[in-house]
């Protein structure tokens, strides 16, 4: 699943980067899909589909990670710090 879908998302991202950002969520639906599929395979595809359905003119959007505790900025920062600390 990962091998099939990921290139399409990447191509989409390349082309969509020409227009101004439009996704109501952070990370964007395509980035969400990439992470979800990488982590959960087929289930990730369903997660991504659900996310795209939620991203509509009537939703307020917001911060929505595949796994909040792994992906959020603070967690990423902590990991980075740990890496530097190990060095």
């Amino acid at each position: 699943m990962k091998i099939v879908v990921t290139p399409f998302i990447k191509i989409y991202q390349f082309f969509s980067s020409s227009s101004s950002p439009r996704c109501k969520y952070y990370p964007s639906c395509s980035n969400y899909a990439l992470t979800a599929i990488k982590r959960h395979g087929g289930k990730g595809v369903l997660m991504a589909t659900w996310r795209i359905l939620r991203c509509n003119p009537w939703s307020l959007g917001g911060v929505d990670y595949v796994d909040e505790e792994i992906d959020c900025a603070d967690a990423v920062q902590t990991r980075k710090n740990q890496l530097i600390g190990v060095k």
Partner: protein
């Protein structure tokens, strides 16, 4: 599959045949003009249906003016952490129950229509393996309508023919011209947005700008590659959509630009200059009410007009 596709074919062909009925008495039932108007009418109808969404988005964009100080603060506070910056920005929008971003719904909503139109028009041009014309009826486009549409021309080119599916030089010329038109409208729309419509670019947006520049020159190539496979009718649809997008954006950039963009500053300057000319104090909170003002004789008080909701 038919369960999903048949209603789509019915909608698309129904609208086309409906508009065709309206315009037949004026331009003639078999006239290419009538069929062209029918296809363009389909675009206009779809885009009119999508206008409320567009207005909604513009409104929430305008609401951002109030949030600007907060946004600047966030940008400054997290200038080294793009991710945190985006997170905080989204939280801010949610807190204020607004979101300036459009979501990809307006695009996704149009995709099935485009696909259905492509299939319906391709049906008109269908041939048997021996090369004998054998139109396939889809939805309401059948019988006499199908025969009429199969013969309809746009500047001498049959609307059901495509560049690769024909040896007719007229079709090829018209296809190329339409592809050039499509590229030109996309190009201008994009440039208009980049030059005037977007908030001033900071360093972090530079990569995006670079990518946009590449796309600017890549789009004509993509249109050329895909366009040669599409029937003239689909290209008419595509061109009309592009033209509409351009017009819509032109209107917004002129009348309701994104705060912080060059067009916004220009508009502010113009307003300030006009107020000065009218011998009035510049009142920055008053900017909303005089959106739709038309130039009037100086000295006369200008009545604030109600912004039109419906359009």
């Amino acid at each position: 599959m038919g369960v999903i596709l048949d209603p789509l074919y019915n909608i698309v062909s129904g609208v086309i045949v409906g508009i065709h009925k309206i315009f037949s008495p004026i331009f003639g039932a078999d006239s290419g003009v009538t069929w062209t108007i029918s296809i363009m009418g389909l675009v206009v109808l779809i885009r009119i249906i999508l206008i409320p969404l567009f207005v909604k988005q513009i409104k929430s964009q305008r609401a951002l003016t109030v949030l600007q100080p907060h946004m600047k603060e966030i940008q400054k506070k997290y200038k080294d952490d793009r991710q945190k910056q985006s997170e905080e920005m989204m939280k801010l929008y949610k807190e204020h129950k607004t979101n300036p971003l459009a979501s990809c719904f307006p695009i996704i909503a149009q995709a099935p229509i485009f696909f259905a139109l492509f299939t319906v028009l391709n049906g008109i041009a269908a041939k048997t393996p021996e090369g004998v014309s054998a139109p396939i009826a889809r939805g309401f486009l059948k019988g006499e309508y199908l025969d009429s549409a199969a013969q309809a021309t746009f500047f001498g080119a049959k609307i059901s023919q495509s560049f690769l599916g024909t040896t007719d030089t007229t079709v090829r010329i018209v296809t190329v011209l339409l592809i050039i038109f499509m590229s030109a409208t996309t190009f201008t729309t994009q440039r208009q947005l980049m030059v005037k419509g977007m908030p001033k670019i900071d360093a972090s947006n530079n990569m995006m700008l670079q990518q946009q520049k590449i796309m600017l020159y890549l789009f004509p190539v993509i249109f050329a590659i895909s366009g040669v496979n599409f029937p003239v009718g689909v290209l008419i649809y595509w061109s009309t959509t592009n033209l509409w997008t351009w017009g819509q954006q032109f209107y917004v950039i002129k009348r309701n630009p994104t705060p912080g963009s060059p067009a916004y500053e220009e508009l502010e300057r113009k307003r300030a200059a006009k107020k000065k000319q009218d011998g009035k104090d510049v009142n920055p909170t008053d900017t909303d009410s005089d959106q739709d003002q038309t130039p009037e004789a100086p000295g006369q008080r200008q009545q604030p007009k109600k912004k039109k909701k419906k359009k």
